[in-house]
């Protein structure tokens, strides 16, 4: 054997021995801590995964123990299956994914316990009160789609992402860097299925297409007609999958002198219309395009007979605090394209606030909505709460899971047992996705934060999550397909207008031209 070969072999053996020694030193301790001092309180852990209900198919809820110690030990156990024990010198607890999945799968409907031990420098162990969560029988959809953006009016680094909830994989659905930093806004899915997806784009260069992805094919829809000249804001699928309700909003941003939320949004005009996929036609009626009202946030009832939406009086910007939305509905028959009478489902006066973002549970029994002090756009409100209504009785109540910050952009899972929403409860300004279990009676359980591999992930994240939507399978469309759709928008045929359905349809009131943002140009104003 040559000299250098011998040297190589020696190095390999040494490396193997060293690896074995390291593995031994850092092996997962499986010994049970028999002697400890009990601490009569639960440990402080972050994120707060305590006393909550979790789905049996969620990724490990990694957390950080906020107790100072030299060593940490966490034992996760339930009635069935082997417990998981993690020892660490650092307070970050990374739960191994496979044992976690097994433990959850074996204990559906049962409590899940977390014992947290800490060891001080003298070697004494302390055991805190056991944290107990409940593993529900109800699974959550496997994927969550959300938009991640910076707190900015500039469209920089904005994208729609999908996250596998069984692990930590996140992938891009569409990022605005692929089309010259335009805006990607408000995606929606039909029945929590990824095979029918909508998202809107606003690009100074490529226009304002509504991107529709159906059965792995993308089309860029041009919904601009003389009745619907504005940019599409919020969309909703009709349960038959052939009709899309959309709002055309003309927003203006304004600012607050001393509020927690610096920015606010005022709607200068807002109307609703329907897009008929098969005939490439846009349909509307005077009831949902009233010049004296702002109609927004469309949502079809699950039987497809009613279009629900929010409606507020059209007021000058100075009276922005008086803008409060009522919850309305109008009968619509997709076969005959006939509209019925307009009805007020719930008035703003009744809830003492502005009702926005109505979302039906898959069985149509529950209607989840948002109530804020004012506004047609609750995202920038310092506080907005989640309310739930039983559609049969019309009874509504504020969900106790609402926080003293903004909770918005909510939606149901495909089985109706989970809701997801964007909440600013953790940081005041940065919205994060939370899940809450809803049982048969409509009771909502303590929400928990979307878990991340690094439990401190959100602590320094300067982006916000909005429009979280649960879907059962991953979006089959590649980002490139969506980008190609945007680039091809110029060739997209304009939608036709249906006038026969609602004779005498008045045109949408001309949108008041937005004043240029001259808040920083007093001299121009003066002149």
């Amino acid at each position: 054997m040559r000299k250098h070969h011998r040297f190589l072999l020696g190095m390999l053996v040494l490396g193997a021995l060293l690896s074995a020694a390291l593995l031994y030193a850092f092996r997962a301790a499986t010994t049970i801590i028999a002697h400890y001092n009990p601490v009569p309180r639960p440990p402080k852990i972050h994120p707060d995964y305590t006393g909550t209900a979790i789905p049996p198919n969620i990724a490990p809820l990694n957390f950080i123990v906020r107790e100072s110690a030299a060593r940490y030990c966490v034992r996760i156990h339930a009635k069935e299956g082997p417990p998981i024990q993690i020892q660490s010198r650092k307070p970050k607890i990374h739960i191994p994914i496979h044992p976690w999945k097994k433990l959850l799968a074996a204990n559906r409907g049962r409590p899940l316990h977390l014992d947290v031990y800490t060891q001080d420098k003298t070697g004494t162990w302390k055991k805190f009160e056991t944290i107990t969560n409940t593993i529900t029988n109800d699974e959550i959809d496997d994927y969550l789609v959300y938009r991640k953006i910076k707190l900015s009016v500039m469209w920089k680094d904005m994208g729609v992402y999908q996250r596998n909830l069984q692990n930590y994989d996140e992938s891009i659905i569409l990022h605005n860097s692929s089309f010259d930093s335009g805006c990607v806004n408000c995606h929606s899915f039909l029945n929590n299925s990824s095979s029918n997806m909508l998202t809107q784009v606003r690009s100074p260069r490529y226009g304002t297409p509504m991107l529709m992805a159906q059965n792995a094919e993308v089309s860029a829809l041009n919904t601009r007609t003389k009745f619907t000249p504005g940019k599409v804001g919020f969309t909703a699928w009709h349960p038959n999958g052939r009709v899309i309700a959309f709002s055309i909003n003309s927003f203006e941003m304004f600012f607050h002198t001393a509020a927690i939320e610096v920015r606010d949004v005022f709607s200068h005009a807002s109307d609703l219309a329907l897009y008929l996929i098969d005939s490439n036609k846009v349909l509307s009626t005077s009831s949902i395009t009233r010049p004296d009202r702002l109609e927004t946030f469309p949502e079809f009832s699950r039987d497809g007979r009613y279009l629900y939406f929010c409606s507020a009086p059209q007021l000058p910007v100075e009276r922005y605090r008086e803008v409060r939305c009522d919850l309305m509905r109008i009968n619509y028959d997709p076969k005959t394209q006939k509209w019925g009478q307009l009805e007020t489902v719930l008035s703003a006066d009744k809830v003492q606030g502005s009702i926005t973002q109505p979302r039906f549970s898959p069985d149509g029994r529950l209607l989840l909505f948002n109530v804020s002090e004012y506004s047609t756009f609750p995202t920038h409100q310092a506080q907005s709460d989640l309310y739930i209504m039983e559609t049969e009785t019309g009874q509504f109540r504020k969900l106790p899971i609402s926080s003293n910050r903004c909770d918005a952009w909510h939606g149901f899972s495909s089985n109706g047992r989970w809701i997801v929403f964007s909440s600013k409860r953790l940081t005041g300004r940065f919205a994060r996705p939370f899940f809450s279990h809803i049982d048969e009676t409509g009771k909502a359980y303590k929400p928990f934060l979307l878990p991340q591999k690094d439990p401190t992930f959100y602590d320094s994240l300067l982006q916000v999550y909005n429009i979280p939507e649960l879907i059962s399978q991953p979006v089959p469309i590649k980002p490139k397909q969506l980008t190609t759709g945007i680039l091809a928008y110029e060739q997209a045929p304009h939608a036709d207008i249906v006038t026969g359905a609602t004779p005498g349809l008045p045109p949408v009131p001309p949108h008041r031209p937005q004043p240029p943002s001259t808040y920083d140009q007093p001299w121009l104003q003066r002149e």
Partner: protein
Amino acid sequence: MLNSFRTLLTQNPDRRLRSLLFFILFYLYIWLEVDTRLIYHGAGAISDFPVFFRGWTFFHRFTSYPGGILEYLCALLSQFLYIGWAGALVLTLQAWLLSLCTDYLFKAVNLPRLRCLRFVPPVLLLITYTRYTYHFATTTALLISLLSVCLYLTATQKAKLSRLIVFLVLSVFVYTIAGGAYLLFALVCAIYELLFARRCWFALVYLLSAIVIPYAGGVLVFDVSIIDAFTNLLPVSWKIFEYENYKKILIIVSALYLFAPSVLLVSGLCRSFFITHAQPLNQPNAPKARPHKPTKKKRGSKFSRLRSRILSWYSGAPIIKWSVESCLLFVLVGAVIFFSRDIKKKALFETDFYAARRMWPQVLAAAPKHPNSYYIVHAVNRALYHTGRMPYDLFRFYQSPDTLFLTAAEHRESYFKKFDIFLDLGHVNMAEHELTESLATDGRRPLILKRLALANIAKRTIHTARVHLSALGKTLFDADWATDYLQQLRSDPTFTLPADHEIQRLRRYMPVQDYGFSPMPFEHILLDLLKKNARNRMAFEYLMSSYLLTGELGKLIQNLHRLDDFDYTQIPPLYEQALLLYMHKEKKPVDLHGRQISQLSRQRFENFKKVYAFYGGNKEAAFQSLANAHGDTFFFYSTYGLSGLKK
């Protein structure tokens, strides 16, 4: 290759010495004259300066596209620009390696006469720095490509390895690390094989690989767009092109990229076409070139004899030769730098840098280099206020109503320049708005994160402040600052922080009455601030200055009573001048709240009128005389709309 580089370093001590001297001067110039701290600061003009955060999460996103790893390393190295000497060291090291690679390349292809061109890449680099642009990642990608070319040449010359295998391995490495800069590697290797080694098939394969490898690696493996697959980290990448400021300097960066391949191509073609018996390199069996037969020396004229005598003396005196060549080099480089540097841009960066650090005398010292820039005047006005000179020296500098708050339409998105004025004034919400926009456009810079944290602590939105502090805690140089604040917030459950003067000042001044606004004139903002705290001196002086600049003397007089809220011993001269002019025009007295207009102001006004009258009231004719004597007064500004003209 290490040996080859070692040889390069050890051979020719005169060459080494010249290089050493060149790079010492390069280093000193970058450190002391360019000042890398200015590039790090960015002044709102370098929007693509990378941030760097410790931790896996930050690293992870760089692994998803070709060239990402290099971008990550460059982000790390770029942070050293924060410290002048360390930043200069990083940039000099990069320039030196580029020079070394160029030298090695020309040596390897047997172009010894061109080795003096090794200084061209460092000079081109220096031009980009003297013009205050940031192309570190792009130029480092170039360096990786050239280093790989050198590695390829060394490996294929000495080792008995298959050229194709070496090329393929290096291709995968270069593409993964340096992204689109791989095209340069493939191109240079192809030129070498075609024109110097005379292996056409290899050249063809390499050129084909320039298409195949980015497509296979970028589009199929990394799943990036075809444009990104081919252009990431190249000067033509959209990521660089989107910055309007960079379009001019991209010619220099492109020249840097094209320098080596162009020289090789031209010299290779010359060799192919003009030297009939040129032999391919690295072919051991190739017959040796026929030795030159000594030819009879022709007897030349007196002049040519003299010239050859001088030349032979010159060749025989290595010290003189070295000195002359070195002087020539340094003069040439000096001339290039002299004519390419951008003094105005430097002044812009300096004033912004010093203003951000509240180094007011330095702001005022740097400003005259580019006195008409709105950005600079904006910084100067802050400096004037903070040095107590605003109501005295406002018109010593060029002024316009737009300079106080950068209100011109073209400055609407200059968020980076605006947030400090609102923090100074105590309008925390406006500052927060500008800061968050700046965070989106200029990146998560520590300077912005610090201010956002302070604004949120002042507002008692502590959870939000903690997010900014946690992000700041992952930076290299400001982590301690963030940790200190996080600790303070933990130990003070009421978040009062009584010992923190900045927080207390902000809380004293920030408006408490909330209302929505858009648009809102700055006059209202300033009055609002004075309503909250009548002793907000900055709001007062800015309000009065804005009235002076817009000529709203009636409003100035209405607010004159506010002087009583402060410790002015007398009416500041610029306000006196405004009062005198107002009284002169309106022919009515003004309530001075028990104060007097000074004799000096009255004399200046009389003198101004006298000079004006001397020219028969002809504005144009009186301009120069008035500018010389009264160019720093409100009288002059009011008459001509100009200021800062007094010699």
